[in-house]
């Protein structure tokens, strides 16, 4: 079941790879720091679940899951869904910003051309 070492080792590996990759991106200034916080917390959550399997056993028992690993899945799915939700909102905001910027650039261009013609 969940106390199989393989699953725990996989979780720990996944956690370290996530953190390592995101910190490498920070090192080379390829990502903004505020966007890394989620992934660092996500990898911390994986690490905690792997190191203390008691949490998964306790929560699975409390919520009536068949197997503790299901609780781990639920946590991961929940975190990713929440991230997806906030990314959707952010994407929508970015989309509208790009639209406003494009309109602005085009309007400026038109104004510059009109001024040139008037001269």
């Amino acid at each position: 079941m969940f106390d199989q070492t393989l699953i725990r080792v996989c979780l720990i590996l996944g956690s370290f790879i996530t953190a390592g990759y995101i910190l490498r991106r920070v090192r080379h200034a390829k990502v903004q720091i505020e966007d890394t916080i989620f992934w660092l917390m996500f990898s911390a959550a994986l690490l905690i679940l792997a190191i203390f399997p008691g949490i998964a056993y306790w929560a699975a028992n409390l919520l009536g899951f068949m197997s503790p690993i299901n609780f781990v899945y639920v946590v991961i799915i929940f975190l990713l869904l929440a991230k997806q939700f906030f990314m959707s909102i952010k994407l929508s905001q970015l989309d509208s910003k790009v639209r406003i910027l494009t309109e602005q650039v085009a309007l400026n261009e038109e104004k510059a051309e009109r001024d040139k013609l008037d001269l």
């Binding site: 920070v26 200034a29 390829k30 720091i33 505020e34 916080i37 602005q104």
Partner: protein
Amino acid sequence: MSKLLIVIPAHNEEANIVQVVEELTRSYPQYDYVVVNDGSRDKTAALCRAHGYRLIDLPVNLGLAGAFQTGLRFAAENGYDCAMQMDADGQHKPEYIAPMLAALEEGNDIVIGSRFLTVKKPKTLRMLGSYIISWSIRLTTGRAICDPTSGMRMFNRAMVEEFAQNLNYGPEPDTISYLIKNGATVKEVQVEMGERLAGQSYLTFWRSVQYMVKMSISILLIQWFRKRDTETPYPERSL
């Protein structure tokens, strides 16, 4: 005297901006300033135009970091020797610009207008965040920064260029801690700050908590992994 640019980022500050700029230009006409309107939804930009203030009007909201970076790019492109941030809500008093400039000319890279250098920091819930950030900086750099969250900061030419060109150089305490670690000299100068003149502060309780978590993780963990690259110009780095 060094040529100083005062950057005034303004987001929805129609109630304060006129009073702040008027006080600055009336009492201290020797300093140059620029208002960066950060996509305000109110009449901030219109008021600046009506009064003939020097204005950079961002068409979309970028947040404080983006607005301030715009000001610093302006400073870098127009040959200013140093630049400082001044809030548009009237908390930062222009009479402290001269002592801060003097401290910068002693050879410091960054000068912070600090509320708590000679004054004891009050032990209130509001200041808890400031204490935590101070401790984090102390722990990771060994330097005591009494008022890390003060927005009244002055930068020399090298810092202006670095801030203007790079990613992850927000005007926040984590950048300060990172720069101290990389050998920048930071000095604090005692200043007094007023309450905001009018309007609502952006920092609600929940936003303050989020800010604190972000700053703590950033200072204690992330800043260790950053690599300083001041050689490659920004356009040559791809995201």
